[in-house]
């Protein structure tokens, strides 16, 4: 009994009870104002130091990365030059189609991502945790970013804003295990739910009826159903495998995000919030 009540154990018990209380409050009321202000306070203390250290070490880190990855950088440059050339061609083709689509959307009062105002932002950090797959951008509530705003970059859907401070915002990646995106299949127009399975793992698409025609490489776009977290029409992922097991109630579909999170530097925040707020 004496051993049970020794001081380190009492400290342990008190701290665990405190921790459990915080988790319970936070879990039951994720928007608790006091917890939010603690988060903002810590971020406000650490952010300037982080910025200063990043700025101080960036030349060193860039030099090291450049020296180590020189051959890769050269190959990447050649690839990018080829892509830019193709993109210029495509841009001219798309310009006319875009004008037509915008005009038609306006005519039919359809929401479409091309008509939603955007806010460019720089990715300043990835969340350094295995609990959550997210990244931080350099625009926050002061620039008009709100919780629930979709974020696109690198030609596809990157995620949605889940937390904002005055100067930064945290974006939950679509690969996070808690992320679910409503998607529409090309061709058939069927609606499915695309769930994150963690870093490096393919996304899984469910609720698709067996026998639905779908080819590898097809692009899935956000469905934008009423109450959805994203507006319709944002390219989200590319199908990498489709299988139809015997007696299965749905097709097994795997997809990869169009966004390469490893090299994501700039994104666009769509000034659009879900009907329910998206928190």
């Amino acid at each position: 009994m004496t051993r049970l009540l020794e001081r380190p154990r009492i400290t342990l018990i008190v701290l665990l009870v405190l921790g459990l209380t915080l988790v319970t409050v936070s879990f039951r009321s994720p928007t608790a104002a006091k917890l939010g202000s603690v988060r903002t306070l810590v971020a406000d203390v650490v952010d300037p130091i982080r910025g200063a250290i990043d700025a101080a070490f960036r030349p060193f880190a860039t030099t090291v990365r450049g020296a180590v990855d020189y051959s890769q950088a050269e190959a990447k440059l050649r690839q990018l030059e080829a892509e830019v050339s193709q993109a210029k061609l495509l841009e001219r083709e798309h310009a006319a189609a875009y004008e037509q689509l915008t005009a038609l959307s306006r005519l039919l009062h359809l929401p479409w991502v091309g008509t939603i105002p955007t806010l460019p932002a720089e990715v300043i950090a990835t969340t350094p945790s295995n609990l959550q797959l997210s990244f931080v951008i350099d625009r926050g509530s002061a620039a008009g970013v709100q919780v629930g705003n979709p974020v696109v970059g690198d030609g596809g859907l990157a995620g949605r804003v889940i937390a904002v401070t005055p100067s930064t915002a945290t974006v939950l990646e679509i690969t996070d295990p808690t992320s679910v995106v409503g998607v529409r299949l090309p061709g058939s127009g069927q609606i499915g739910a695309m769930s994150g399975e963690g870093a490096s793992a393919p996304l899984s698409v469910s609720l698709i009826a067996p026998g639905t025609p779908l080819r590898r490489g097809a692009i899935l776009t956000t469905s934008g159903l009423q109450g959805g977290l994203f507006p319709p029409g944002i390219p989200a992922a590319r199908v990498v495998s489709v299988s139809n097991p015997l007696n299965a109630l749905q097709e097994e579909i795997e997809a990869r995000p169009l966004v390469d999170y490893g090299s994501l530097s700039y994104v666009d925040v769509l000034r659009w919030t879900p009907a329910g707020g998206g928190a």
Partner: protein, 167 residues
């Protein structure tokens, strides 16, 4: 003396949290983020005992929780256990060899990461059976084992080389 210890704990934790959040600390191994705050908490526990380890774990966990939107306090609970268990080395009679502290820091890091998986499962945040769980636990434990001497050195620098007082 207690005030100086408190300052040392806060300084060590702040260093770990800032390092984790800069470009230098955001590198991944096989897509897994090493957990530098956990290794510092374990090093504090292994250097100064269970009580200070648990307190450092709580404070470090709260700081880490400020950067994610998972339930606030989740990391604090896990780090409290990590700091406390690492501090169990104070129970060993006589001086504790550096190698033992090193090993303890690596082992409790493995355990801490496994605890994260369990806690996430209990809160319905993830599926513990997904393929990368083992990878996540092994990478965090392995990297922490490698950087443990640095963390232990920092703790020694901050607290001096005296042995922790056995409670």
């Amino acid at each position: 003396m207690r005030f100086l210890q408190a300052v040392a704990v806060v300084a060590l934790l702040l260093t770990a949290v800032v390092f984790q959040n800069t470009g230098l600390g955001q590198a991944t191994v096989l897509g897994v983020h090493p957990d530098y705050t956990m290794v510092v908490v374990a090093a504090i526990g292994a250097s100064r005992g269970r009580e200070l380890g648990a307190v450092a774990g709580f404070l470090g966990g709260l700081a880490v929780d400020a950067f994610v939107t998972t339930p606030f306090g989740l990391s604090a609970i896990v780090y409290v256990v990590v700091g406390y268990l690492a501090g169990e080395v104070e129970q060993i009679d006589g001086g504790v060899p550096f190698a033992v502290r090193w090993l303890v820091v690596g082992l409790v890091s493995l355990l801490g990461e496994a605890l994260f998986v369990v806690a996430e499962f209990l809160l319905g945040l993830t599926n513990p059976l997904h393929a990368r769980v083992l990878e996540q636990i092994v990478v965090v434990g392995g990297v922490n084992l490698i950087v443990a001497p640095v963390a232990l050195g920092l703790a020694r620098l901050a607290f001096g080389s005296s042995q922790p007082r056995v409670a």
